[in-house]
């Protein structure tokens, strides 16, 4: 267990209503005094419903959003003390992929050059080295050379998410932050992307911070789970502990609300409920 990225007592308030006097300004606390440890080569999932503050937490850890209080340290360095240039150098080691790959890739650039750009910014490589590295990355994410010359609109969502992963991994990050990476994808494609992330993690040893509202999916990929509600952590622990013996009522409610793909365990409206609700230790 070695600590890589650590957030301590992070708090972020957003202004929801401006006013003339300081007292008339209204705030919403998106993240309230949250601490999180991201360890090398492990996957930690942050789960919760919309508005729980999980995406804000991810952005605080990357310093894409400045915290009102609390600290973020990466490999022992306090990120808040870093200037722009130092931060940029460090950012190479923390990469991110988003829910909608269409809006995270430039429509006027071929996907090959989008991946190459990451190399151009962060490394001093010759043109031919870059080209062969890009080809290698495309192969890693299950795409081929022909794809490199195409534009984002020529791809499906799943393929674009592969490109986004290739671009993020181009700079050999230590942490990959994934904000709902499969929420917008079709069922049959989700499994492909999730397995791809798992395989690449096993090969390259990066840590994954996986932000998701999909509890069933998280169970398949996470080592550790943090459950958030209204900006606060209500439960945390190893995935098996959180899923098998949830402690917080909110975690139980979340788990109990997942529709189970098995018609023998129908629980809605409480008809034929023999054995229902017990699978998660008494869910809702």
């Amino acid at each position: 267990m070695s600590l890589l990225l650590q957030g301590t007592d992070l708090t972020k308030r957003f202004v929801i209503k401006r006013g003339l006097t300081p007292r008339s300004v209204q705030y919403e606390t998106a993240v309230n005094s949250v601490s999180i440890d991201i360890e090398k080569a492990r996957t930690i999932a942050v789960v919760g419903e919309s508005g729980a503050g999980k995406s804000t937490l991810a952005r605080l850890l990357m310093r894409l959003v400045e915290a009102d209080s609390g600290t973020v340290t990466f490999d022992g360095v306090d990120l808040s003390t870093l200037g722009r240039n130092q931060l940029r150098i460090l950012r190479r080691r923390i990469q991110m992929i988003f829910q909608d790959p269409f809006s995270s890739l430039d429509p006027r650039k071929t996907v090959g050059s989008a991946v190459e750009e990451a190399l151009l910014v962060h490394f001093d490589m010759s043109r031919s080295d870059r080209a062969s590295r890009v080809a290698e990355l495309f192969a890693d994410v299950g795409m081929n050379k022909r794809h490199m010359e195409r534009y984002p609109h020529e791809f499906s969502g799943g393929q674009l998410q592969r490109v986004a992963i290739a671009r993020a991994l181009a700079v050999q990050p230590d942490v990959l932050v994934c904000d709902e990476p499969v929420a917008a994808l079709d069922v049959s494609i989700r499994a492909q992307i999730v397995n791809l992330l798992g395989r690449l993690q096993a090969e390259n040893g990066f840590a994954i911070l996986f932000v998701s509202h999909d509890m069933a999916l998280v169970r398949y990929i996470a080592d550790d789970v943090v459950v958030m509600k209204s900006g606060e952590v209500v439960e945390r622990g190893t995935a098996s502990k959180v899923f098998e013996t949830p402690q917080a009522d909110y975690t139980k409610a979340l788990l109990g609300a997942i529709p189970i793909p098995d018609p023998r365990v129908r629980r809605i409206v409480g008809h034929n409920t023999a054995g229902a609700g017990t699978r998660y230790g008494g869910g809702a």
Partner: protein
């Protein structure tokens, strides 16, 4: 068009019958077993839409029926044609966007495809209602939710303003919105997504339709809210004897909600079966693959690999020859599967479009 009172009373008595049959035997999987005809029959439905590169068939030869008071789940990935099917049933696909080129849609024996726009307008809302994924987009932001429900009732039933408003408040109460009298004066932006979906349901059910088409009604909602909405739909279905066509990509919701399931792929229904048979004994390789690729929330250990389906679902322009699923199928056999589009045929208790179905021993959930 006002409904004859004789028809009205028949409905009431039927509702009582369904409510009872639901209460005692919700798991009766065979539609029509109660001796009543199917409420909705879709026969050979084929829909063409106009695209930039010419006309394309979005759905082909769709066949299914829904028994009175039952729920059919229409399942598919993006581009499979599930929403186009729903829109066609509701008579919402018409030139210049597209047209129904073949088939019939029988609602209580009346063919909706053959109806004029005017006749259809009275069927929609009165006999058939729809709810969609994004409730806020289906509500008018500039009117209170009470006024929107009252307007529908006034238009379809010809009631007075006062009576319609009272009915609107009553409907909000029926969908379990707290303090409905006050909430009737709220504008959509003042309500949460879950509340808006309740309002949409109140609106859809305000004229006591026989058929409710629900197109991914909970996809945009949080999981705990989703559960409340699904529960509400289920309860109202029992109360009102509703028949539901439930469109979703979530097999968990299908398992919780549906009596029968039709799986769509590439514009066709590839398998159709009672829910229990479909999940436990799938007959089509696509169904089997779908069941394997979803994470099971109750599975014991963490960090397992999910099984995947290679490739991507076909778009409108690249639907393959023969079986639509053959390029992604684990059991494909050339040239058998590539030669022609397989006919729908019965395999045990399921109907499926797979020429190899009888040779395969497919596995469902365990």
């Amino acid at each position: 068009m006002k409904r004859a009172s004789g028809v009205e009373s028949r409905h009431v008595s039927e509702e009582v019958v369904f409510a009872e049959s639901f209460a005692t035997d919700v798991f009766d999987e065979s539609p029509g077993a109660d001796g009543l005809p199917d409420l909705l029959e879709v026969e050979d439905l084929t829909v063409e839409i106009q695209t930039d590169s010419g006309p394309r068939l979005v759905v082909e030869d769709i066949n299914f029926t829904i028994g009175n008071g039952k729920t059919l789940g229409l399942v598919g990935e993006s581009g499979s044609g599930k929403t186009a099917t729903a829109l066609a049933i509701a008579g919402l696909i018409r030139p210049p966007t597209g047209s129904i080129t073949k088939g019939r849609v029988l609602l209580e024996g009346r063919d909706l495809v053959a109806m004029s726009e005017r006749q259809l307008a009275s069927v929609r809302g009165l006999d058939l209602a729809m709810i969609f994924q994004e409730p806020r987009r289906s509500l008018d932001p500039s009117f209170t939710v009470g006024a929107q429900i009252a307007e529908v009732v006034r238009r379809h039933r010809g009631w007075s303003r006062k009576r319609s408003w009272r009915h609107a408040v009553e409907m909000l109460d029926r969908v379990r919105i707290p303090s409905p009298e006050r909430r009737a004066h709220a504008y959509p932006h003042m309500l949460s997504g879950g509340m808006c979906q309740r309002v949409m349901i109140a609106l859809a059910l305000s004229c006591e339709p026989r058929l409710l088409i629900a197109d991914e009604p909970t996809t945009a909602l949080d999981v705990t809210i989703q559960r409340e909405i699904l529960k509400l739909i289920r309860e109202l279905q029992i109360e009102m004897g509703l028949t539901v066509l439930f469109i979703t990509h979530d097999l968990g919701i299908v398992a919780e909600m549906c009596d029968e399931v039709a799986i769509m792929y590439g514009g066709q229904v590839v398998e159709r079966a009672p829910a229990m048979d479909l999940f436990l004994r799938p007959a089509h390789p696509y169904t089997e693959a779908l069941l394997k690729s979803i994470p099971l929330p109750q599975s014991g250990s963490t960090r397992q690999e999910l099984l995947t389906i290679k490739g991507v679902p076909p778009g409108l322009d690249d639907r393959p020859q023969g079986c639509r699923f053959h390029p992604r199928c684990a059991y494909v056999q050339s040239p058998l599967c590539v030669a022609e589009v397989p006919e729908m045929h019965t395999q045990a208790l399921n109907d499926c479009r797979c020429v190899r179905a009888q040779d395969l021993a497919l596995r469902g959930i365990v």
